[in-house]
Symmetry: C2
Subunit: 335 residues, 2 copies
């Protein structure tokens, strides 16, 4: 195996074969992947199934608390979890820039293995393309995932109802600030790392305790504010959140002040928003707080009939402001 990825590694010929047999199979092998036919042959349960995809273009590909491989696996696991599915099967497709270090590829594949072993999802099918130097930036990763939705569970951004409570599983902004710091070379006090984490186990416990949860979403790109706006828009409901209840780390708040960013729009990769009927909120909060991924959970707001489609922020000093969607991103390539 050469030290750098060559165009020929994407040719479908001998070097593609070597790449698959020497790098992918040793880490990811399982009986579904192994035949390497044009599609994986899986056993499907009947009933409601979840299917999702995301491409990852994060820059840099290694950042404090994670890398593009882990991010891709957890990201797809989280998207499946948000509709109440148990993540089962994953596809993995890489677009690699010619000259990419083989050692870095090995690190990322190994990280994908760890993330999939930890969560019980299996990579069952994949693809690798290589493009000329300058035609892509290092490495892009696509994952698609399949899971079966728990019986009786129907979660959707369309379901929020008046009086429902809005819960958040922990601190916002850690992922985006960690990636930015690495990319821009910011030096901070403390060791801020990405919150990049799988939420499938937390969601399982939440749904077991409160099957009446209306909606789960993970506030990734666009952050908490955008996710709440999407729910408000789709449910034709208003959402009010209390600024003081939203957990933001001091270090994140500091960098936001310095750079003029709003932490409510920063991407997260291991947090969720839950909307549930008011009578369930305290119990749900307790379940979340008892889980490592929800330790810092809070009830941050509620759903109203007023201002449908709008999110309002009650500020600490008694005022309020509309929390709109941003036109663009604060920064590109965060995930």
């Amino acid at each position: 195996m050469p030290e750098k990825i060559l165009l020929a590694h994407g040719s479908g010929g001998r070097l593609t074969h070597d790449l698959v047999r020497e790098i992918f199979l040793p880490h990811l092998s399982n009986p579904f992947l192994e035949p390497l036919d044009d599609s994986a042959r899986l056993m499907s349960q009947g009933g409601p199934m979840a299917f999702t995809t995301d491409s990852y273009v994060v820059n840099p590909i290694f950042f404090p608390g994670g890398d593009i491989g882990k991010l891709a696996v957890y990201g797809t696991i989280n998207d499946l979890s948000m509709v109440g599915a148990i993540p089962s099967y994953l596809s993995l497709s890489l677009i690699i820039e010619e000259g990419f270090p083989v050692e870095d590829l090995k690190r990322i594949v190994s990280s994908i293995r760890e993330a999939s072993e930890q969560t019980g999802i299996r990579v069952v099918t994949g693809d690798t393309k290589v493009v000329e130097r300058g035609a892509a930036d290092q490495l892009f990763v696509n994952t698609a995932g399949i899971g079966w939705i728990r019986e009786g569970i129907h979660l959707s951004g369309l379901n929020a109802k008046r009086g429902d409570r809005v819960l958040l599983s922990g601190f916002v902004g850690d992922h985006e600030v960690a990636v930015l710091s690495q990319r821009e070379g910011f030096e901070f006090e403390g060791d801020l790392v990405s919150d990049c984490a799988p939420l499938n186990d937390l969601v399982g416990k939440m749904l077991q305790a409160c099957p009446s949860i209306r909606c789960l979403r993970d506030p990734t790109r666009g952050g908490l504010a955008t996710t709440l706006n999407e729910i408000a828009f789709k449910s034709h409901a208003g959402i009010i959140v209390e600024e003081e209840r939203i957990p933001v780390r001091e270090s994140v708040r500091g960098i936001c002040e310095l750079l003029g960013l709003d932490p409510l729009y920063l991407a997260n990769e291991g947090k969720l928003v839950a909307i549930c009927p008011p009578a369930e909120a305290d119990r749900l909060l307790e379940v979340m707080k008892n889980h490592s991924q929800g330790r810092d959970a809070e009830i941050i707001g509620w759903v109203t009939e007023e201002n449908p489609g709008r999110v309002s922020l009650h500020t600490g000093i008694g005022g309020h402001r509309i929390l709109d969607m941003l036109t663009g991103a604060q920064y590109p390539r965060i995930c």
Copy 2:
């Protein structure tokens, strides 16, 4: 909608929202895609299911006979078809370079719509990322697909047995030569176009007539020679093919001679190789010839116990040579 794609279209905020509502939904909308939750909620049949993924990086993105959108949809449909599955659900994930013309994006999404309507597969989930100018080359497309495998069918590259016949559904090399011509500005006589086409209907008819087919593969990257090598390798069998039986267009043969290429290694996007028991071969050939996608089908060879893992070519003048895998590609970014 501006004329060019902006970084903000990938932000997850207002402009991403606009892109989804103004470009993707009008073309692709269906009840599974519409809720736009983190995962699509589908109904799954029990039993064996196929799952596959491919990323497409073809350059140029528009070429004679197709474009990157059509290629992606058909490519995934074909991969599902090759294991005997009926293609059902598709995911669609785009990585777009900042500055990409919105008109071109619309053309491609419209082409994806046509390809999915024609074949009955539905785009149920998606993702869009935008990277800075120079961080990707125009547009990369990833599709993943799900289908249910027909009862009693078990196709695999592992299954070829001594005496089996090797069938090819038509002319080889059209796709790669069409893409190359467009990219390099070659001028040919005649109007050579990519063979880019969905094979699901042809495969349905083949399996109905001959459920004992052992293996189907579409010879894309690496061409016919590489596909036969993979089957020989995985089945621990030898394969012998007769050069004179392999359909190659005069125009493709001409350009191959000019550029020093071997048509047996050129990518195809609407062809298949079938391996079947000898007693079934004539009937299968007839079924193929009666279908528009198999009109030029031929029985091109057979499986032996000699030289396991090797493919031998019997040439017109009575000689033979080993048809090995190439180390690299003849050209990059053909699909």
